[in-house]
Symmetry: C2
Subunit: 354 residues, 2 copies
């Protein structure tokens, strides 16, 4: 047994990470391998109460009543421009959304750029202009930045890492471990559009479709939602790994099971057509402008009303409920009346989706 295997055993890691020896594309999928890497390497060495909480953002105490919410994301989407957005809009919205998912008021972003030598400056400017527009829409400022350049061939065009900061009002508590048996599960709109838009932009389809990425800042809609419905338990955006992976994460964190009804899931015709043709599952396709909302069933209809009144929630739907049985599991009741267990995405379906 080598040195690392011994350490992993001491940490009681379920799967020895070193059985892979090298990083696989799947370690970046947001699914099982990513969770293994996080648990068996990052949390093992860098773990603390904030990092281990496993939410979209960390909540830190501050000396005034509010708490500081902090999040970070690296964006490596390929191609840089795609139907409905680009890496700049994605980098702003992805981090704005992560902070907003804790119920916090997004205050500021940082952005660090890793640029490949030879990137046309006009492309970089288009991307920065897109960030400017997304920042204006989200009402947030980029307050600090960094720029690094690699030689041609040492990175692929442009990567943008953003971090976000916000303030959580005193008393508000929204987190992945707060789903309760009896809660309703709502999604704010159709699933899989971002993933399909990226597949399409890569020219992998062999045909064209009308699907656009849903990438959008959700902090405005969330603020409106929380004003009228304070008793929200969980908010999360189903990005990499899609709705299924996100719900499995929540089910495990909360120690509950979640039942979904297939015929309630909002999926656009065009997305379904592309997925059918390519053998992809919309439940595992990334979204960049959707949220999953878990809250007491009594508030579900009111929440749907609030979401549907907002431009980014017009097709919001009640898709399932939270149960106690078989903790950590997510079940899909299919249109055929059968039951399918959903697990996390296990390998990499579409690398560099975000």
């Amino acid at each position: 047994m080598d040195d690392i295997s011994q350490k992993l055993e001491a940490f009681n890691c379920p799967v020895p990470l070193s059985q892979h020896e090298a990083i696989l594309l799947g370690h970046g999928s947001g699914g099982t391998l990513t969770h293994e890497l996080i648990k068996c390497l990052f949390q093992k060495h860098l773990g603390n109460e904030y990092l281990n909480a496993g939410n979209d953002a960390a909540v830190l105490p501050s000396s005034n009543g509010e708490k500081l919410v902090i999040s970070t994301d690296a964006h490596i989407v390929s191609p840089l421009f795609f139907p409905g957005g680009d890496i700049g809009r994605l980098a702003v919205c992805g981090t704005v959304n992560d902070v907003a998912m804790m119920g916090a008021r997004v205050e500021a972003l940082t952005a660090s750029f890793i640029i490949e030598e030879g990137l046309p400056i006009s492309d970089l400017e288009r991307i920065v202009v897109s960030m400017e527009k997304a920042c204006r829409e989200a009402n947030v400022k980029i307050v600090a930045g960094d720029t690094k350049v690699t030689a041609h061939g040492d990175c692929d065009g442009l990567f943008i890492s953003t971090s976000g900061f916000g303030w959580l009002p005193s008393g508000r508590q929204i987190a992945g471990d707060l789903a309760q048996p009896g809660d309703a599960v709502i999604v704010s709109g159709p699933l899989g559009n971002h993933g399909v838009a990226i597949v399409q932009a890569r020219g992998d389809l062999g045909f064209t479709s009308s699907v656009q990425s849903d990438v959008a800042p959700l902090n405005g809609m969330i603020a409106t939602l929380l004003e009228s419905i304070p008793d929200v338990h969980v908010l999360r955006d189903p990005t990499r790994g899609g709705l299924a992976t996100t719900l499995v994460e929540i089910a495990r964190q909360s120690g509950v099971s979640i039942e979904l009804e297939e015929n309630k899931l909002p999926i656009d015709q065009a997305v379904r057509a592309v997925c059918d043709m390519l053998g992809l599952d919309p439940l595992y396709m990334a979204n960049e402008g959707k949220l999953v909302l878990i809250l007491p069933e009594a508030s579900a209809q009111k929440a749907l009303g609030v979401l549907r009144a907002h431009q980014y929630g017009q097709k919001a739907a009640l898709i399932g409920k939270v149960h106690e049985k078989s903790s950590g599991k997510v079940w899909l009741r299919t249109t055929l009346g059968t039951t399918r267990v959903l697990d996390m995405l296990t390998s990499e379906m579409l690398p560099r989706i975000c």
Copy 2:
């Protein structure tokens, strides 16, 4: 005139960025081209009072007496391991130091990893363990993270972006635009060690030297310094672009000139030898564990005493002073009695130094 040139003209950009058409390695040097890119593209579109201040970190108001200090850095150093450190230690120390340079108490970091498929997991673990050690030394936690993986060939091994957050005690004001005529200029130790260590690690020398990177967290030393000497005007770490570029930045921000004395500059024999042989200038070589301190001359000797009592400031030296004349200029009084004007680094001397 194309569209971008028109916009740049409207922004009154001194050098039209679009004359380059594509990003050059020099845009990541930390010198003139980087400053042009920041001013003519990032600040042009994303600018606000925080970003435009041009300090190592942004200072945001909070609802309590203290202010929130935020910074970010992308780390793309090559190779990943070098004498005296690695990309993990660099990613922690670089951002800890940027927050500390504002006089803030460093509270927390985020870290986002962009990993190339095929990176040995044992290398990644060595790097994460090194981050753990640096975090412990700096007394800081990583509270949020993200992991992305690219296909083999789409990035070079590993890039780590870190952001840092800290609290600035009420009333404390340290910034690049606060240097005053009559102030003393101090550096905390020998110059250029990090840059030379990287050159050496790349095997570019054709011989071996004993130079180790100085990469270290400076927040402890700064806290001690500010306890006994509250009237510090400027603190900055002379990283990419070296001491010369850092002092030109400060001279321009403060509208002063700075005079350095060559025979006072602390430079290790081995660093000088390597630089002489390769035609490199230690004044432009990166440091990752040094600070430049500008403060009233009356406090200079006391500051030297405090720095020299600390493990990272043993060779601290008084190297020059601040003048009013020819604002924005930095002068070196050479050992020959002549005067040399120092400008920012203009192109890329050593890509991927940090």
